[in-house]
Amino acid sequence: MSVFEGFRFRKVSSPIHDLDPRVKFFYVCILFVIALMFNQLLPLIVLFFVPLPFVFMAGVQRQWLRSLKGAIFLATIIFATNLVSRYIYSGYVWSAIMLEESIALTFRFIVLVAAFSVFFLTTSPDHLGLALEQSHVPYEFCFAFTTAVRFVPVLAEEAQTIMDAQKARGLELERGNFLKRVRNYIPEPSTAPSSWSTPLKKSWSKPRLLPDRHCRKEYSLFCSSIR
């Protein structure tokens, strides 16, 4: 899935890649808070352009654009749901404000994707883990966090493979009207728990191997606890 390409760390040297991960994380959190503070379109557009200089400094334009491209589909769903629910909530009365607010909310989502994408593209999970450790975050959480991040591309690949397998068994995800495709992405109630939990199930099996690779005693207990 192209959106996940926008979150995969690549080892390159640049002022942004070499920056302390805590600084980058702090910047992303600030951006996140500011994005939440505004409902109007204009400030959010400004926020969207804030990461741009960093994107160019880090040389990750292509991957960054890919993450935005991938986010468009979800953004469209967010926009549609927002607009429809506002319409219904206002008693089936149409107004321009509704349109603007829906666009703004959708844009907020895009702003967040853009900000986090830069973060993940330029921060090695190991560096982040080390930085968190130095900030006296308990080891278990650092380990769980960095391991989780390492699995993002793995989960993405699993999701892609499952989609391929479902397409090859007749699930139409490429053609047909938009609503039907959206519906096809949402699995049947009977298969819902399992179709998206397969990658998670497999990730659960990975901690099983950690005790075998000599986790320190307390961490092997921790690993068992997240089964």
Partner: protein, 286 residues
Amino acid sequence: MADKTLPIIETQELTYTYPGGTKPSLKDVSMTIERGEFVILTGPSGCGKTTLCRCFNGLIPHFYTGKFDGDATVAKLKVNQSSIHELAQHVGLVFQNPENQLFALSVEKDVAFGLENLGVPRDEIRKRVDWALQITGIEELRERPPHELSGGQQQRVAIACVLAMQPDVMVLDEPTSFLDPVGAQKIFDVINQLNKDLGITIILVEHRLDLASQYANHVIVMNEGKIILDGSPREVFTSEGARLIGIGIPKATRLYQLLGENGVHLNEIPVTSQEAANLLKEALQT
């Protein structure tokens, strides 16, 4: 070379049922593995090979719980009384699917992981990692992310990870199933080197007997949770038991059997094409 006085692994009437299982996955399994042996463990799917392997490093009964009866001793430690941590210092387990075993950002870090957790000093870690990478022939891959490597390369990384911990026994559960014959042969060569040069006891779970049997000196065949054949490769492959449960004996051995049925007896039982060709030359030229 096998030291006959010190079995490294011994089981006596080992019976095990997985939690929630309706019948035992292992039934009265009794066997001995001597130090330095190269053992092939084979049998039809579901016969209990993987379950037995899990008993060697304590995953059974400590991780998988369930009902455990009988005895299993590994490197003089009783499996049900020792922790996974203790046992894992003697037994390394390499699984079938490499992508399930590797999770670090670079090959180096994956190989070092186990050593870090053992509290081995930094210098020693560096030495052992270098050594393990060199023996498995993957030094130039040390900084690559494991999930970007080919299946064969990943499997070598998995072996290096276990090798770095310098176990007495290495258990490999179908380590070449995702590899092509050329890739599989290379892995078997590496494993054979570990056995012959470093004296590591090898337990190899395999179906591909045509590729692997030339290295082994001990074959154990299981079926439905029980051991039904236990001996040297040539004895086992030509036995009636092997024919009855239908394990895939090497074609060279099969040819030997077919010729025997027609009254043509070769001087020895071949397991490789080279051996068969030599024996046939002798027979045809006399």
